[in-house]
Symmetry: C2
Subunit: 160 residues, 2 copies
DNA sequence: GCAATTATCTCGCTGAGCGAGAGAATAGTC
DNA sequence: GACTATTCTCTCGCTCAGCGAGATAATTGC
């Protein structure tokens, strides 16, 4: 095994670290973007996170209950009730008892919530897709594998 | 210009959207990771964000004042004072009046804060670097350009 | 010297989220 | 089919992060 040139040895550590910093910077930007959007619309960051979760689930045709929502956001039941109250008061969702299991409450997303989500993501997603078009398909595939690998690492670290 | 095959046309939109969802999923994971680490150490998410900012600045040799810190985190002055009080009470930072401009307060990072940062990032960064080693240098370069492009888009969207 | 400006802090308040536990519906056991 | 255990949601009382308004203190400019 040949000894690598100095540049290679340096970049073996330096390049990943640059990527780590980029990742962190990106999440900071995304967080701030979300927080600012939320504030402009009279929402709290948690409300926005909940909305995203609810819209994702609605698109996937999944039923969301307060319990599931709270778990996804890391809230306890009391906090979750408060959150759902808030979203309902804003006219973004509606409670409806599950006729199958009447202990459960289904959270139904209102039209207004979808419009709000559109306002939040719409522009940003459009810009993101446009930016990604400037990459080759092979490069996008690499980026996808990279993001998947990183997500996997973070998710695994969280388990512990 | 030749008309693209159907698969190409589909992937032109579908692949970026998959990447967008991956990005969102990643930030969610990172947020939760941070929130859980913070909770385990008796910190609030904001405290951790502040700590990251302070450690970054310390490494870059920059002076951080409560004003700068609050601005970076989107807090007003009252909230910032509370944050700094909290971090000081935890023994993570120290206030020190700037002898040059005695209106200013310098925030000095204590040893304990660095150890905490090490505990937070250390393991995760190690895992991330290990995961990245499984990519070719060229691929990492692509990932870096990709992340930089995405960050740029989000940052630009935030300006508006 | 005297405003105007800048940086930080104090006070009082609102409200997100927590812990504990109540209430209501369902599932399992004999 | 009553009876206990479990599951899901909500209520109550509380803590504390962060806000708005404004006080305080140091600096800069005229």
């Amino acid at each position: 095994m040949p000894s690598p040139r100095k540049d290679d040895r340096v970049s073996e550590v330096a390049e990943p670290m640059r990527l780590v910093h980029l990742l962190r910077g990106l999440t900071v930007e995304l967080d701030l973007f979300g927080a600012e959007f939320a504030a402009r619309n009279g929402l709290h960051p948690t409300d926005l996170r909940a909305l995203i979760h609810l819209l994702d689930a609605a698109r996937a045709g999944e039923v969301v209950t307060p319990g599931r929502l709270g778990e996804a956001l890391g809230l306890n039941s009391a906090g979750t009730t408060g959150l759902v109250d808030r979203l309902e008061r804003l006219g973004l969702i509606r409670r409806e008892r599950d006729p199958q299991d009447r202990r459960r409450v289904r959270l139904l997303v209102e039209e207004r919530a979808m419009e709000l989500g559109e306002g939040f993501f719409g522009g940003l997603i459009g810009d993101l897709v446009a930016a990604m078009r400037r990459f080759e398909p092979g490069e996008l595939d690499t980026a996808r594998r990279f993001l998947a690998a990183v997500t996997e690492v973070v998710s695994a670290a969280r388990e512990r």
